[in-house]
């Protein structure tokens, strides 16, 4: 996990649901590189064709509400989204996103200080987001250590892999 994340901003409104991020008709697609072609097809149709690696999604309240589909953060990660920040998140999206190692930051009031095309700087541990064009900032409570450690490990897969490996190393050898 980078301590400081900077990127070009795309803005979204409130209640962007998972159908708006990736539609139900794409849920049988497993390959993230296929999924990413359809990311934000409903909520932000111009995004997929114009996204650049490191872009930051800035949304209003309740981002990612709706279904449990991990395809949503998966498609965002695959297309190169560097972080997603919002006034608030729906809970399953938030967990999925962190589990995949996609920096996900909840900061009240963040949507109001950005316009499309601005550059955002996110300081993950300091808990501050700055609009580098206007200088406006909002602060947020940094993620609890448990979740920061998940992002630092690169996501849940890496964290569990380390735990299982440690368990095996500590266990008596099989007879």
């Amino acid at each position: 996990m980078q301590e400081v994340i900077e990127g070009r901003v795309w803005t979204l409104g409130k209640d962007v649901d998972t159908d708006g991020i990736i539609g139900g008709k794409y849920l049988t697609i497993i390959d993230p590189n296929e999924l990413k072609k359809h990311v934000f097809e409903i909520a932000l149709p111009e995004f997929a064709a114009n996204a650049r690696t490191g872009d930051i999604i800035v949304a209003d309240e309740n981002f990612g509400c709706g279904s449990s589909r991990e395809h949503a953060p998966q498609a965002m990660k695959a297309i190169g989204v560097g972080a997603v920040v919002a006034d608030s998140f729906a809970r399953i999206f938030f967990r999925n996103s962190i589990n995949l190692g996609l920096p996900t930051v909840e900061a009240k009031g963040v949507r109001a200080i950005f316009e499309k095309g601005d550059t955002a700087r996110i300081e993950m541990r300091a808990g501050r987001i700055t609009n580098l064009r206007t200088g406006a900032t909002v602060t947020f409570p940094p993620l609890p250590p448990h979740l920061l450690s998940l992002l630092e490990a690169g996501g849940l897969v890496e964290k569990v892999r380390a735990e299982l490996a440690a368990r095996r190393a500590g266990a008596p050898a099989a007879p």
């Binding site: 139900g24 497993i30 509400c65 279904s67 991990e70 729906a90 809970r91 897969v157 892999r161 299982l164």
Partner: protein, 427 residues
């Protein structure tokens, strides 16, 4: 209403304390909870790769895992067929015996309910967002994603932030033609889609005690639309009677303390409450049905189905209303039972015949038209009346399509009249 200042625990806190073997937990605390039941549907196919990448060799407890495919059953696309195949192979390799495959299938939450897989005191997780429905058993039941499910299969536990609890106290009686669906829509209209974000919702009060188990399933199901981590009803004799013949593991009934601390208490009085409808494009855009009926909204399609409202009680009620009527000209009416067991029951009771005689299509059990990826997909500018749970843009197909969420009876009435109507005018 102000929250009480007690120091006891809410129902969700009790269950999470049990799951983490702690005497007491408080909201905001992160706990490691031992999982009593893990459920996967098609999205579980995406659990397999991370499970292997984690270096996991076996599933923590093969009798605590259920696979229930439901979104595309039988497979309607090659992609869905591949998902099913991945799950079958994984189940065989890891010795998972509880696989509700084509022929024994149903919507995953209904499969869990009617087979007694979730019981009072459980911590249950599933790869579908409406897993909240099983909270009606007096359990904490929550949706998670497939990577997280891989960790649960490997370790038998997951981290959870103990949620604050929103208590919804319900009193009064339903008027004629007013149902549990109308109650949950009314609450959604009041607290909105963010009203319970990250929170536990605990339903209580005399009107909740009076609800049947299927009605409790409906209200807990749609706590998902409130953003809730879980929706719950404390167990009572109805819960025990429902589960006694089918429970798959021991019950640990838990109850909220009298001095539990609630973040918010919402009082709802059913007396005088009209039927409700959630209008496009959000489940919280709720208005009284009689008011919307006056606008004569024409419908192209009607859907009686989904984990929210396609149980035998819903279909019986719908069939009673359907008798002596025909589906309106130009309307497609799709009826999809929530499980194969319910399908069989409909067959025995003549319910299928009633619907097909009226010109409806009675389908195999599945999520069907609810999610816009299988069948009953809407074209741009079409309008659908539905007993399901979401009406966001694009939910059932084209993003412009307009979906109205209703009770089962109001759904059937829309099929008969070809427009959104107050179903009480028909009976």
């Amino acid at each position: 209403m102000s929250a009480s200042n007690g120091h006891g625990m809410t129902l969700a806190e009790k269950v999470l304390a049990r799951a983490s073997a702690a005497e007491r937990v408080v909201p905001g605390e992160i706990i490691e909870g031992n999982v009593d039941l893990a459920m996967m549907h098609e999205q579980g196919a995406q659990t397999v790769a991370p499970f292997h990448q984690m270096g996991a060799e076996k599933v923590w407890d093969t009798d605590r895992v259920v696979i229930a495919i439901d979104h595309w059953v039988p497979a309607s696309t090659e992609g869905a067929a591949v998902l099913h195949r991945i799950l079958r192979k994984f189940a065989a390799e890891t010795n998972l015996p509880h696989f509700y495959d084509v022929g024994r299938h149903g919507i995953c939450h209904q499969i869990l309910a009617e087979n007694g897989w979730v019981v009072p005191g459980d911590l249950a997780v599933g790869t579908d967002s409406h897993t909240n429905m099983l909270g009606a058993m007096g359990a904490v039941a929550a949706g998670i994603g497939p990577t997280e499910m891989a960790a649960v299969l490997a370790l038998g536990r997951l981290w959870l932030k103990v949620p604050p609890t929103l208590q919804i106290r319900v009193r009064g009686r339903f008027g004629h033609g007013v149902t549990a669906k109308d109650l949950v829509l009314r609450v959604l209209g009041e607290i909105k889609t963010t009203g319970a974000t990250y929170k536990a919702v605990e339903f209580s009060g005399p009107a909740i005690s009076a609800l049947s188990m299927p009605e409790r399933f409906t209200i807990c199901n749609m706590t998902t639309e409130m953003g809730a981590k879980c929706g719950m009803v404390a167990p009572d004799q109805k819960t025990f009677d429902y589960l006694a013949p089918i429970a798959k593991h021991a019950m640990h009934p838990l109850y909220p303390d009298a001095d539990a601390e609630y973040e918010r208490v919402l009082d709802v009085d059913l007396d005088g409450m009209p039927p409700m409808v959630a209008c496009p494009y959000s489940p919280d855009n709720v208005r009284p049905l009689p008011e919307v009926a006056r606008e004569h909204v024409k419908v192209d399609q009607v859907f009686l189905g989904s984990c929210t409202n396609a149980r035998i009680e819903d279909l019986r009620e719908g069939a009673e209303l359907m008798k002596g009527h025909q589906v309106a000209k130009g309307v497609r009416f799709i009826v999809s039972p929530a499980s194969t067991a319910i399908y069989d029951q409909c067959l025995k009771e003549g319910i299928i015949q009633t619907f097909t005689d009226a010109g409806a299509v009675f389908t195999n059990s599945s999520c069907s038209a609810c999610f816009g990826g299988n069948m009953g997909i809407l074209a741009p500018d079409e309008v659908c009346a539905s007993s399901s749970n979401r009406n966001f843009p694009g939910r059932m197909g084209a993003k412009e399509a307009r979906i109205y969420l209703l009770s089962p009876a109001a759904t059937v009435a829309a099929a008969i009249r070809g427009e959104i109507v107050d179903h009480r005018e028909l009976v």
